[in-house]
């Protein structure tokens, strides 16, 4: 069971309080009607599924209720950082050793 830092509560808490919400920074097209079937399929289904640092979303569903973003190494399951929804995607190289 992971320990996850909620950037809103500013606490590191057991995974059971959180719900995974898949890859982050996949924005829903502003005008869906204008996008092609390919692009819509890309938005709906295609995922990078990175083996290594993955930008992903979690929701502190049993806590503050907020969706937020995280960077987690999917090989070690260690979190490199978590940040609020809407914050810019942090640059990987800038990320130091995972949160404790």
């Amino acid at each position: 069971m992971l320990l996850i830092h909620c950037p809103y509560c500013n606490e590191t808490l057991p995974e059971v309080e959180f719900a995974y919400a898949s890859e982050a920074h996949i924005a829903r097209p502003a005008k869906p009607s204008d996008v092609s079937d390919e692009d819509w399929a890309e938005f709906l289904f295609m995922r990078s599924n990175v083996k290594g640092p993955l930008y992903e979303r979690w929701r502190h569903i049993h806590g503050c209720g907020r969706f937020f973003n995280a960077v987690r190494d999917t090989v070690t399951d260690k979190f490199l950082t978590t940040y609020k929804a809407g914050d810019p995607r942090p640059d990987l190289s800038s990320l130091t050793e995972g949160l404790k």
Binding site: M1, Y8, C9, N10, E11, L13, P14, V16, E17, I61, H62, G63, C64, G65, R66
Partner: protein
């Protein structure tokens, strides 16, 4: 236990030398959501809105706990319910927010006794030491979302939705006996 939760009467439900579980009297409960300038709402409610999650304020018989960046839960005497609704409605036009009456949604258990804090470790995965006395948190207890109010070192209130109450009480009741049976 198939009795409806509405048939629970305030008072002690289970107790041992180790811990005690009581049923709290009904009260008016509101979920308040707001952003931006909170002053008008604070004026309307007669208490300040803490902005750190987990922080609590008390004004007279009204207690308010910050649950999220734009979310608070408010407990007040039942008789205050209408006044609170009216007061908030009064400022809505200029300061839109969401006030939802959840008085009927939840009940509260009171947990205390020398090992009250340990009793909660049967169902709560988070470190209770991270909830300071006088604060509170929304968290998970035995699979159900609950709000824990820490009123003292070993005394807590646990708010849960009606339909989870008997299930959660069963665990608390088991724990009350289990803890008492332990040779310390």
């Amino acid at each position: 236990m198939t009795a409806p939760i509405s048939s629970f009467t305030p008072g002690v439900l289970a107790h041992s030398d180790a811990a005690r579980v009581g049923f709290a009297p009904r009260c008016a409960r509101f979920s308040l959501r707001a952003r931006g300038d909170l002053a008008p709402l604070e004026a309307a409610l007669g208490l300040s809105l803490p902005t750190r999650i987990g922080q609590r304020v008390t004004a007279g018989e009204r207690q308010l706990l910050c649950l999220g960046p734009d979310e608070w839960v408010l407990h007040a005497p039942e008789r205050d319910g209408a006044a609170i609704t009216a007061a908030c409605a009064g400022v809505y036009a200029d300061h839109p927010h969401s006030l939802v009456d959840i008085s009927g949604r939840e009940v509260s258990f009171v947990i205390d006794g020398p090992r009250g804090a340990e009793l909660l470790t049967l169902g709560c995965a988070r470190d209770l030491d991270s909830i300071a006395v006088g604060e509170g948190r929304r968290t998970l207890f035995d699979g159900a979302t609950v709000i824990l109010w820490r009123d003292g070192d070993t005394s807590f209130r646990l708010d849960c939705w009606n339909s989870f109450a008997t299930h959660l009480f069963h665990l608390l009741d088991t724990g009350v006996r289990e803890l008492a049976a332990e040779s310390l």
